[in-house]
Chain length 224, copies 2
DNA sequence: AATTACATTACTGTCAACAGTTTTGAGAAA
DNA sequence: TTTCTCAAAACTGTTGACAGTAATGTAATT
Protein backbone atom coordinates (compact mmCIF):
# COMPACT_ATOMS: atom_id res chain seq x y z
CA UNK A 1 0.00 0.00 0.00
CA UNK A 2 2.86 2.35 -0.66
CA UNK A 3 4.92 3.60 2.16
CA UNK A 4 5.20 7.20 1.02
CA UNK A 5 4.17 9.96 3.39
CA UNK A 6 2.40 9.38 6.64
CA UNK A 7 -0.98 8.27 5.37
CA UNK A 8 -3.23 9.24 8.29
CA UNK A 9 -4.98 5.96 7.86
CA UNK A 10 -7.86 8.06 6.70
CA UNK A 11 -11.26 6.48 6.75
CA UNK A 12 -14.07 8.56 8.07
CA UNK A 13 -12.83 9.40 11.50
CA UNK A 14 -10.03 7.81 13.43
CA UNK A 15 -10.41 9.83 16.56
CA UNK A 16 -10.79 8.40 19.97
CA UNK A 17 -11.63 4.73 20.04
CA UNK A 18 -13.01 2.28 17.55
CA UNK A 19 -16.58 3.40 17.96
CA UNK A 20 -17.16 4.72 14.49
CA UNK A 21 -16.42 1.41 12.73
CA UNK A 22 -18.80 -0.41 15.04
CA UNK A 23 -21.45 2.20 14.46
CA UNK A 24 -21.05 1.84 10.73
CA UNK A 25 -21.29 -1.91 10.98
CA UNK A 26 -24.49 -1.55 12.96
CA UNK A 27 -25.96 0.99 10.60
CA UNK A 28 -25.08 -0.82 7.41
CA UNK A 29 -26.00 -4.28 8.65
CA UNK A 30 -29.41 -3.69 7.21
CA UNK A 31 -31.06 -3.18 10.57
CA UNK A 32 -32.20 0.18 9.35
CA UNK A 33 -34.17 0.81 6.17
CA UNK A 34 -32.72 3.42 3.77
CA UNK A 35 -35.10 6.27 4.59
CA UNK A 36 -36.08 5.34 8.10
CA UNK A 37 -35.36 7.42 11.19
CA UNK A 38 -32.43 6.22 13.26
CA UNK A 39 -32.83 6.67 16.97
CA UNK A 40 -29.79 7.87 18.86
CA UNK A 41 -30.96 6.16 22.05
CA UNK A 42 -31.48 2.93 20.14
CA UNK A 43 -27.93 3.05 18.78
CA UNK A 44 -26.57 4.00 22.17
CA UNK A 45 -28.27 1.02 23.78
CA UNK A 46 -27.15 -1.30 21.01
CA UNK A 47 -23.51 -0.23 21.22
CA UNK A 48 -23.39 0.05 24.96
CA UNK A 49 -22.37 3.69 25.19
CA UNK A 50 -24.06 6.94 26.04
CA UNK A 51 -25.71 9.22 23.51
CA UNK A 52 -22.85 11.73 23.52
CA UNK A 53 -20.31 9.72 21.54
CA UNK A 54 -23.09 8.48 19.27
CA UNK A 55 -24.03 12.02 18.40
CA UNK A 56 -20.43 12.90 17.67
CA UNK A 57 -19.98 9.89 15.42
CA UNK A 58 -23.23 10.56 13.59
CA UNK A 59 -22.21 14.15 13.10
CA UNK A 60 -19.03 12.98 11.45
CA UNK A 61 -21.09 10.92 9.00
CA UNK A 62 -23.41 13.80 8.19
CA UNK A 63 -23.76 14.54 4.52
CA UNK A 64 -22.02 11.33 3.53
CA UNK A 65 -23.94 8.45 5.03
CA UNK A 66 -26.53 10.13 7.09
CA UNK A 67 -28.84 13.10 6.76
CA UNK A 68 -29.72 15.18 9.80
CA UNK A 69 -32.71 17.46 10.12
CA UNK A 70 -33.19 19.72 13.12
CA UNK A 71 -35.23 18.11 15.88
CA UNK A 72 -36.02 15.19 13.61
CA UNK A 73 -32.84 13.18 13.92
CA UNK A 74 -30.81 11.35 11.34
CA UNK A 75 -31.77 9.05 8.50
CA UNK A 76 -29.74 6.82 6.24
CA UNK A 77 -29.09 8.59 2.98
CA UNK A 78 -30.68 6.66 0.18
CA UNK A 79 -28.67 5.85 -2.89
CA UNK A 80 -30.76 6.57 -5.92
CA UNK A 81 -29.71 6.45 -9.51
CA UNK A 82 -28.69 10.09 -9.60
CA UNK A 83 -26.51 9.91 -6.51
CA UNK A 84 -24.77 6.80 -7.78
CA UNK A 85 -23.98 8.49 -11.06
CA UNK A 86 -22.64 11.53 -9.26
CA UNK A 87 -20.36 9.38 -7.15
CA UNK A 88 -18.87 7.81 -10.24
CA UNK A 89 -18.33 11.21 -11.82
CA UNK A 90 -16.43 12.36 -8.75
CA UNK A 91 -14.48 9.13 -8.77
CA UNK A 92 -13.57 9.61 -12.40
CA UNK A 93 -12.21 13.06 -11.70
CA UNK A 94 -10.29 12.23 -8.54
CA UNK A 95 -8.94 8.83 -9.49
CA UNK A 96 -7.97 10.10 -12.91
CA UNK A 97 -5.77 12.62 -11.13
CA UNK A 98 -4.55 9.91 -8.77
CA UNK A 99 -3.44 7.76 -11.69
CA UNK A 100 -1.66 10.73 -13.21
CA UNK A 101 0.23 11.42 -10.01
CA UNK A 102 0.95 7.74 -9.47
CA UNK A 103 2.59 7.59 -12.88
CA UNK A 104 4.95 10.28 -11.61
CA UNK A 105 5.43 9.30 -7.99
CA UNK A 106 4.85 5.58 -7.45
CA UNK A 107 7.67 3.48 -6.08
CA UNK A 108 8.71 0.07 -7.33
CA UNK A 109 7.03 -1.50 -4.32
CA UNK A 110 3.79 0.17 -5.33
CA UNK A 111 4.02 -1.23 -8.84
CA UNK A 112 4.86 -4.71 -7.60
CA UNK A 113 1.87 -4.65 -5.35
CA UNK A 114 -0.36 -3.68 -8.27
CA UNK A 115 1.03 -6.49 -10.38
CA UNK A 116 0.24 -8.90 -7.57
CA UNK A 117 -3.34 -7.67 -7.43
CA UNK A 118 -3.67 -8.15 -11.19
CA UNK A 119 -2.60 -11.76 -10.78
CA UNK A 120 -5.09 -12.35 -8.00
CA UNK A 121 -7.78 -10.83 -10.14
CA UNK A 122 -6.88 -13.16 -12.99
CA UNK A 123 -7.00 -16.24 -10.78
CA UNK A 124 -10.47 -15.28 -9.63
CA UNK A 125 -11.69 -15.02 -13.21
CA UNK A 126 -10.17 -18.38 -14.14
CA UNK A 127 -12.23 -20.06 -11.51
CA UNK A 128 -9.68 -21.10 -8.96
CA UNK A 129 -10.71 -18.34 -6.60
CA UNK A 130 -8.38 -19.58 -3.94
CA UNK A 131 -9.02 -16.58 -1.80
CA UNK A 132 -8.35 -12.94 -1.33
CA UNK A 133 -9.65 -11.15 -4.33
CA UNK A 134 -13.37 -11.19 -3.73
CA UNK A 135 -15.02 -9.14 -6.40
CA UNK A 136 -15.73 -5.74 -4.91
CA UNK A 137 -13.20 -6.01 -2.11
CA UNK A 138 -10.34 -6.84 -4.44
CA UNK A 139 -11.38 -4.16 -6.84
CA UNK A 140 -11.36 -1.60 -4.09
CA UNK A 141 -7.90 -2.80 -3.05
CA UNK A 142 -6.65 -2.12 -6.54
CA UNK A 143 -8.01 1.39 -6.62
CA UNK A 144 -6.88 2.24 -3.12
CA UNK A 145 -3.39 1.06 -3.99
CA UNK A 146 -3.21 3.44 -6.90
CA UNK A 147 -4.54 6.31 -4.86
CA UNK A 148 -1.96 5.59 -2.17
CA UNK A 149 0.77 5.38 -4.79
CA UNK A 150 -0.16 8.87 -5.94
CA UNK A 151 1.41 10.21 -2.76
CA UNK A 152 -1.36 12.75 -2.37
CA UNK A 153 -2.81 12.42 1.11
CA UNK A 154 -5.63 14.87 0.52
CA UNK A 155 -6.78 13.00 -2.54
CA UNK A 156 -6.74 9.76 -0.62
CA UNK A 157 -8.62 11.12 2.35
CA UNK A 158 -11.39 12.60 0.24
CA UNK A 159 -11.82 9.45 -1.80
CA UNK A 160 -11.92 7.29 1.30
CA UNK A 161 -14.23 9.49 3.31
CA UNK A 162 -16.58 10.63 0.61
CA UNK A 163 -16.61 8.13 -2.20
CA UNK A 164 -15.48 4.59 -1.41
CA UNK A 165 -17.39 4.70 1.74
CA UNK A 166 -20.76 5.34 0.18
CA UNK A 167 -20.07 2.91 -2.64
CA UNK A 168 -19.29 0.18 -0.13
CA UNK A 169 -22.62 0.82 1.53
CA UNK A 170 -24.34 0.57 -1.82
CA UNK A 171 -22.60 -2.62 -2.87
CA UNK A 172 -24.28 -4.40 0.01
CA UNK A 173 -27.61 -4.17 -1.76
CA UNK A 174 -26.68 -4.38 -5.38
CA UNK A 175 -24.97 -7.01 -7.50
CA UNK A 176 -22.57 -6.63 -10.41
CA UNK A 177 -23.08 -7.03 -14.12
CA UNK A 178 -22.16 -10.57 -15.31
CA UNK A 179 -19.12 -10.18 -17.55
CA UNK A 180 -17.85 -7.17 -15.69
CA UNK A 181 -14.92 -8.76 -13.84
CA UNK A 182 -13.28 -9.84 -17.08
CA UNK A 183 -13.60 -6.45 -18.74
CA UNK A 184 -12.39 -4.75 -15.57
CA UNK A 185 -9.26 -6.87 -15.57
CA UNK A 186 -8.13 -5.75 -18.99
CA UNK A 187 -8.87 -2.15 -18.10
CA UNK A 188 -6.84 -2.53 -14.93
CA UNK A 189 -3.99 -3.92 -17.01
CA UNK A 190 -4.05 -0.87 -19.24
CA UNK A 191 -3.76 1.38 -16.21
CA UNK A 192 -0.83 -0.52 -14.71
CA UNK A 193 0.89 -0.56 -18.08
CA UNK A 194 0.72 3.21 -18.20
CA UNK A 195 2.13 3.42 -14.69
CA UNK A 196 5.08 1.21 -15.59
CA UNK A 197 5.64 3.37 -18.65
CA UNK A 198 5.62 6.42 -16.35
CA UNK A 199 3.12 8.04 -18.68
CA UNK A 200 0.85 10.33 -16.67
CA UNK A 201 -1.38 11.35 -19.54
CA UNK A 202 -2.08 7.79 -20.60
CA UNK A 203 -2.55 6.66 -17.00
CA UNK A 204 -5.19 9.31 -16.40
CA UNK A 205 -7.02 8.51 -19.59
CA UNK A 206 -6.98 4.78 -18.91
CA UNK A 207 -8.31 5.29 -15.41
CA UNK A 208 -11.08 7.58 -16.59
CA UNK A 209 -12.15 5.16 -19.28
CA UNK A 210 -12.18 2.38 -16.76
CA UNK A 211 -14.37 4.32 -14.37
CA UNK A 212 -16.70 5.38 -17.15
CA UNK A 213 -17.25 1.71 -17.95
CA UNK A 214 -17.71 0.96 -14.27
CA UNK A 215 -20.33 3.70 -14.10
CA UNK A 216 -22.33 2.24 -16.96
CA UNK A 217 -22.09 -1.18 -15.41
CA UNK A 218 -23.20 -0.01 -11.99
CA UNK A 219 -26.10 1.98 -13.41
CA UNK A 220 -27.09 -0.98 -15.54
CA UNK A 221 -27.06 -3.31 -12.56
CA UNK A 222 -29.36 -0.89 -10.79
CA UNK A 223 -32.41 -1.80 -12.86
CA UNK A 224 -32.78 -5.49 -12.13
CA UNK B 1 -26.11 30.79 -8.42
CA UNK B 2 -28.08 28.47 -10.64
CA UNK B 3 -31.38 27.10 -9.56
CA UNK B 4 -30.86 23.55 -10.70
CA UNK B 5 -31.54 20.73 -8.23
CA UNK B 6 -32.00 21.22 -4.57
CA UNK B 7 -28.52 22.38 -3.62
CA UNK B 8 -28.36 21.30 0.03
CA UNK B 9 -26.83 24.61 0.87
CA UNK B 10 -23.73 22.58 1.56
CA UNK B 11 -21.03 24.25 3.57
CA UNK B 12 -19.50 22.21 6.29
CA UNK B 13 -22.47 21.43 8.40
CA UNK B 14 -25.89 22.99 8.40
CA UNK B 15 -27.33 20.98 11.21
CA UNK B 16 -28.92 22.41 14.26
CA UNK B 17 -28.27 26.09 14.74
CA UNK B 18 -25.71 28.52 13.44
CA UNK B 19 -23.03 27.44 15.84
CA UNK B 20 -20.58 26.07 13.32
CA UNK B 21 -20.20 29.36 11.41
CA UNK B 22 -19.56 31.23 14.62
CA UNK B 23 -17.06 28.63 15.70
CA UNK B 24 -15.26 28.94 12.40
CA UNK B 25 -15.20 32.67 12.69
CA UNK B 26 -13.70 32.38 16.16
CA UNK B 27 -11.14 29.81 15.08
CA UNK B 28 -10.04 31.57 11.92
CA UNK B 29 -9.98 35.05 13.41
CA UNK B 30 -6.37 34.46 14.18
CA UNK B 31 -6.93 34.01 17.89
CA UNK B 32 -5.30 30.63 17.61
CA UNK B 33 -1.89 29.96 16.13
CA UNK B 34 -1.71 27.30 13.42
CA UNK B 35 -0.23 24.50 15.47
CA UNK B 36 -1.43 25.48 18.91
CA UNK B 37 -3.82 23.46 21.04
CA UNK B 38 -7.38 24.66 21.04
CA UNK B 39 -9.18 24.26 24.31
CA UNK B 40 -12.76 23.08 24.15
CA UNK B 41 -13.63 24.80 27.41
CA UNK B 42 -12.10 28.01 26.12
CA UNK B 43 -14.22 27.88 22.97
CA UNK B 44 -17.29 26.95 24.98
CA UNK B 45 -16.80 29.95 27.25
CA UNK B 46 -16.12 32.24 24.31
CA UNK B 47 -19.23 31.14 22.40
CA UNK B 48 -21.48 30.91 25.41
CA UNK B 49 -22.44 27.25 25.08
CA UNK B 50 -21.55 24.04 26.77
CA UNK B 51 -18.76 21.72 25.67
CA UNK B 52 -21.12 19.22 24.08
CA UNK B 53 -22.07 21.21 20.99
CA UNK B 54 -18.49 22.42 20.68
CA UNK B 55 -17.23 18.88 20.55
CA UNK B 56 -19.76 17.96 17.88
CA UNK B 57 -18.83 20.94 15.77
CA UNK B 58 -15.12 20.28 16.13
CA UNK B 59 -15.69 16.66 15.19
CA UNK B 60 -17.35 17.80 12.01
CA UNK B 61 -14.24 19.83 11.15
CA UNK B 62 -11.89 16.96 11.85
CA UNK B 63 -9.49 16.18 9.03
CA UNK B 64 -10.38 19.37 7.20
CA UNK B 65 -9.63 22.27 9.47
CA UNK B 66 -8.69 20.63 12.67
CA UNK B 67 -6.63 17.68 13.77
CA UNK B 68 -7.66 15.66 16.78
CA UNK B 69 -5.41 13.39 18.81
CA UNK B 70 -6.72 11.17 21.58
CA UNK B 71 -6.63 12.82 24.98
CA UNK B 72 -4.67 15.71 23.53
CA UNK B 73 -7.45 17.72 21.93
CA UNK B 74 -7.63 19.48 18.62
CA UNK B 75 -5.19 21.74 16.80
CA UNK B 76 -5.56 23.94 13.78
CA UNK B 77 -4.23 22.11 10.75
CA UNK B 78 -1.33 24.04 9.33
CA UNK B 79 -1.20 24.80 5.67
CA UNK B 80 2.26 24.05 4.42
CA UNK B 81 3.49 24.10 0.88
CA UNK B 82 2.68 20.44 0.29
CA UNK B 83 -0.87 20.68 1.56
CA UNK B 84 -1.54 23.73 -0.54
CA UNK B 85 -0.29 21.97 -3.64
CA UNK B 86 -2.45 18.96 -2.90
CA UNK B 87 -5.52 21.13 -2.53
CA UNK B 88 -4.94 22.64 -5.95
CA UNK B 89 -4.48 19.21 -7.50
CA UNK B 90 -7.81 18.10 -6.07
CA UNK B 91 -9.37 21.32 -7.29
CA UNK B 92 -8.01 20.77 -10.75
CA UNK B 93 -9.56 17.31 -10.90
CA UNK B 94 -12.94 18.22 -9.45
CA UNK B 95 -13.46 21.57 -11.09
CA UNK B 96 -12.30 20.21 -14.40
CA UNK B 97 -15.13 17.72 -14.17
CA UNK B 98 -17.47 20.47 -13.01
CA UNK B 99 -16.67 22.56 -16.08
CA UNK B 100 -17.26 19.55 -18.31
CA UNK B 101 -20.66 18.91 -16.76
CA UNK B 102 -21.53 22.60 -16.82
CA UNK B 103 -20.91 22.66 -20.55
CA UNK B 104 -23.59 19.99 -20.83
CA UNK B 105 -26.06 21.04 -18.17
CA UNK B 106 -25.88 24.76 -17.48
CA UNK B 107 -28.97 26.88 -18.04
CA UNK B 108 -29.05 30.24 -19.74
CA UNK B 109 -29.43 31.88 -16.35
CA UNK B 110 -26.21 30.22 -15.25
CA UNK B 111 -24.36 31.54 -18.26
CA UNK B 112 -25.73 35.05 -17.83
CA UNK B 113 -24.60 35.06 -14.25
CA UNK B 114 -21.10 34.04 -15.30
CA UNK B 115 -20.99 36.81 -17.90
CA UNK B 116 -21.96 39.26 -15.19
CA UNK B 117 -19.12 38.06 -13.00
CA UNK B 118 -16.67 38.47 -15.85
CA UNK B 119 -17.76 42.09 -16.22
CA UNK B 120 -17.34 42.75 -12.52
CA UNK B 121 -13.91 41.20 -12.67
CA UNK B 122 -12.99 43.48 -15.56
CA UNK B 123 -14.16 46.59 -13.74
CA UNK B 124 -11.99 45.67 -10.77
CA UNK B 125 -8.94 45.37 -12.96
CA UNK B 126 -9.60 48.69 -14.66
CA UNK B 127 -9.47 50.40 -11.31
CA UNK B 128 -13.03 51.51 -10.74
CA UNK B 129 -13.63 48.79 -8.21
CA UNK B 130 -17.07 50.07 -7.45
CA UNK B 131 -17.83 47.11 -5.32
CA UNK B 132 -18.61 43.45 -5.22
CA UNK B 133 -15.79 41.66 -6.86
CA UNK B 134 -13.12 41.72 -4.21
CA UNK B 135 -10.25 39.64 -5.39
CA UNK B 136 -10.53 36.26 -3.68
CA UNK B 137 -14.21 36.55 -2.87
CA UNK B 138 -15.16 37.33 -6.43
CA UNK B 139 -12.94 34.63 -7.76
CA UNK B 140 -14.58 32.11 -5.48
CA UNK B 141 -17.99 33.30 -6.68
CA UNK B 142 -16.98 32.56 -10.22
CA UNK B 143 -15.86 29.06 -9.44
CA UNK B 144 -18.81 28.27 -7.21
CA UNK B 145 -21.12 29.41 -9.97
CA UNK B 146 -19.62 26.96 -12.41
CA UNK B 147 -19.72 24.15 -9.91
CA UNK B 148 -23.37 24.92 -9.24
CA UNK B 149 -24.10 25.04 -12.95
CA UNK B 150 -22.70 21.53 -13.28
CA UNK B 151 -25.83 20.25 -11.58
CA UNK B 152 -23.80 17.74 -9.60
CA UNK B 153 -24.64 18.16 -5.93
CA UNK B 154 -22.01 15.72 -4.71
CA UNK B 155 -19.28 17.52 -6.59
CA UNK B 156 -20.40 20.80 -5.11
CA UNK B 157 -20.62 19.52 -1.57
CA UNK B 158 -17.14 18.00 -1.65
CA UNK B 159 -15.58 21.12 -3.14
CA UNK B 160 -17.29 23.35 -0.59
CA UNK B 161 -16.58 21.20 2.44
CA UNK B 162 -13.11 20.01 1.62
CA UNK B 163 -11.44 22.47 -0.70
CA UNK B 164 -12.80 26.01 -0.77
CA UNK B 165 -13.09 25.93 2.90
CA UNK B 166 -9.44 25.32 3.60
CA UNK B 167 -8.35 27.70 0.87
CA UNK B 168 -10.44 30.46 2.41
CA UNK B 169 -8.70 29.87 5.69
CA UNK B 170 -5.34 30.07 3.96
CA UNK B 171 -6.14 33.24 2.04
CA UNK B 172 -6.43 35.05 5.35
CA UNK B 173 -2.67 34.82 5.81
CA UNK B 174 -1.35 35.00 2.31
CA UNK B 175 -1.51 37.54 -0.47
CA UNK B 176 -1.75 37.11 -4.22
CA UNK B 177 0.80 37.44 -6.96
CA UNK B 178 0.80 40.94 -8.53
CA UNK B 179 -0.40 40.48 -12.10
CA UNK B 180 -2.51 37.48 -11.28
CA UNK B 181 -5.95 39.10 -11.49
CA UNK B 182 -5.42 40.10 -15.11
CA UNK B 183 -4.21 36.67 -16.21
CA UNK B 184 -7.05 35.03 -14.31
CA UNK B 185 -9.58 37.15 -16.17
CA UNK B 186 -8.53 35.94 -19.59
CA UNK B 187 -8.47 32.36 -18.37
CA UNK B 188 -11.96 32.81 -16.96
CA UNK B 189 -13.08 34.12 -20.33
CA UNK B 190 -11.75 31.03 -22.06
CA UNK B 191 -13.77 28.85 -19.73
CA UNK B 192 -17.00 30.77 -20.22
CA UNK B 193 -16.45 30.72 -23.97
CA UNK B 194 -16.28 26.94 -23.90
CA UNK B 195 -19.45 26.79 -21.84
CA UNK B 196 -21.31 28.97 -24.34
CA UNK B 197 -20.01 26.73 -27.12
CA UNK B 198 -21.34 23.74 -25.19
CA UNK B 199 -17.98 22.11 -25.60
CA UNK B 200 -17.30 19.85 -22.58
CA UNK B 201 -13.83 18.80 -23.60
CA UNK B 202 -12.64 22.34 -24.14
CA UNK B 203 -14.33 23.53 -20.94
CA UNK B 204 -12.54 20.93 -18.87
CA UNK B 205 -9.18 21.67 -20.43
CA UNK B 206 -9.59 25.41 -19.97
CA UNK B 207 -10.53 24.99 -16.34
CA UNK B 208 -7.62 22.69 -15.65
CA UNK B 209 -5.17 25.04 -17.26
CA UNK B 210 -6.59 27.90 -15.25
CA UNK B 211 -6.20 26.01 -12.00
CA UNK B 212 -2.70 24.91 -12.89
CA UNK B 213 -1.76 28.56 -13.30
CA UNK B 214 -3.51 29.39 -10.06
CA UNK B 215 -1.50 26.68 -8.34
CA UNK B 216 1.79 28.10 -9.53
CA UNK B 217 0.71 31.55 -8.48
CA UNK B 218 -0.35 30.44 -5.02
CA UNK B 219 2.83 28.46 -4.45
CA UNK B 220 4.88 31.37 -5.69
CA UNK B 221 3.13 33.75 -3.31
CA UNK B 222 3.98 31.40 -0.47
CA UNK B 223 7.67 32.28 -0.44
CA UNK B 224 7.63 35.96 0.33
C1' DA C 1 -67.78 5.36 11.16
C1' DA C 2 -64.80 9.10 10.41
C1' DT C 3 -62.59 13.18 12.12
C1' DT C 4 -60.75 16.43 15.09
C1' DA C 5 -58.73 17.95 19.72
C1' DC C 6 -55.84 16.93 23.21
C1' DA C 7 -52.90 14.58 26.47
C1' DT C 8 -49.22 11.33 26.61
C1' DT C 9 -45.06 9.57 24.97
C1' DA C 10 -40.64 9.54 22.70
C1' DC C 11 -36.86 11.84 21.04
C1' DT C 12 -33.48 15.59 20.05
C1' DG C 13 -30.56 19.39 21.78
C1' DT C 14 -28.12 20.97 25.76
C1' DC C 15 -25.99 21.06 30.14
C1' DA C 16 -23.41 20.17 34.43
C1' DA C 17 -20.77 16.76 36.74
C1' DC C 18 -17.47 12.71 37.05
C1' DA C 19 -13.36 9.67 35.81
C1' DG C 20 -8.95 9.22 33.69
C1' DT C 21 -5.08 11.28 31.49
C1' DT C 22 -1.84 14.84 30.42
C1' DT C 23 0.43 19.04 31.52
C1' DT C 24 2.13 22.36 34.78
C1' DG C 25 4.62 24.01 38.56
C1' DA C 26 6.60 23.88 43.12
C1' DG C 27 10.00 21.97 46.02
C1' DA C 28 13.91 18.92 47.05
C1' DA C 29 18.34 17.07 45.63
C1' DA C 30 22.66 17.48 43.06
C1' DT D 1 21.82 27.16 39.25
C1' DT D 2 20.18 23.08 37.25
C1' DT D 3 17.74 18.76 37.37
C1' DC D 4 14.60 15.44 39.10
C1' DT D 5 10.30 14.15 41.77
C1' DC D 6 5.78 14.50 42.65
C1' DA D 7 1.55 16.71 43.76
C1' DA D 8 -1.87 20.08 41.97
C1' DA D 9 -4.30 21.90 38.03
C1' DA D 10 -6.30 21.58 33.50
C1' DC D 11 -8.28 19.20 30.03
C1' DT D 12 -10.46 15.36 27.37
C1' DG D 13 -13.86 11.58 27.12
C1' DT D 14 -18.13 10.05 28.89
C1' DT D 15 -22.28 9.89 31.51
C1' DG D 16 -26.94 10.85 33.25
C1' DA D 17 -30.38 14.37 33.69
C1' DC D 18 -33.31 18.27 32.05
C1' DA D 19 -35.89 21.36 28.62
C1' DG D 20 -38.22 21.85 24.41
C1' DT D 21 -40.22 19.83 20.25
C1' DA D 22 -42.29 16.44 17.18
C1' DA D 23 -44.92 12.07 16.90
C1' DT D 24 -48.51 8.93 18.89
C1' DG D 25 -52.60 7.30 20.58
C1' DT D 26 -57.00 8.12 22.95
C1' DA D 27 -61.33 10.26 23.59
C1' DA D 28 -64.92 13.24 22.28
C1' DT D 29 -67.57 15.16 18.48
C1' DT D 30 -69.76 15.25 13.93
Amino acid sequence: MSEGKRDTDSATGQSPDGLLPRLLETISSGHFAPGQRISESELARQLGVSRGPIREALGRLEGRVVERRPNLGVRLIEMDREKLEELFRVREALEGMAARLAAENSTNTDLQRLTGLLEQHERVIQGDAQGGYLQGIGDEDFHVSIVSASGCGTLKRILMDEVYFQLRLHRRRSGTQPGRARAALSEHRAIVDALYARNPERAEIAMREHLRSARFSALGALEE
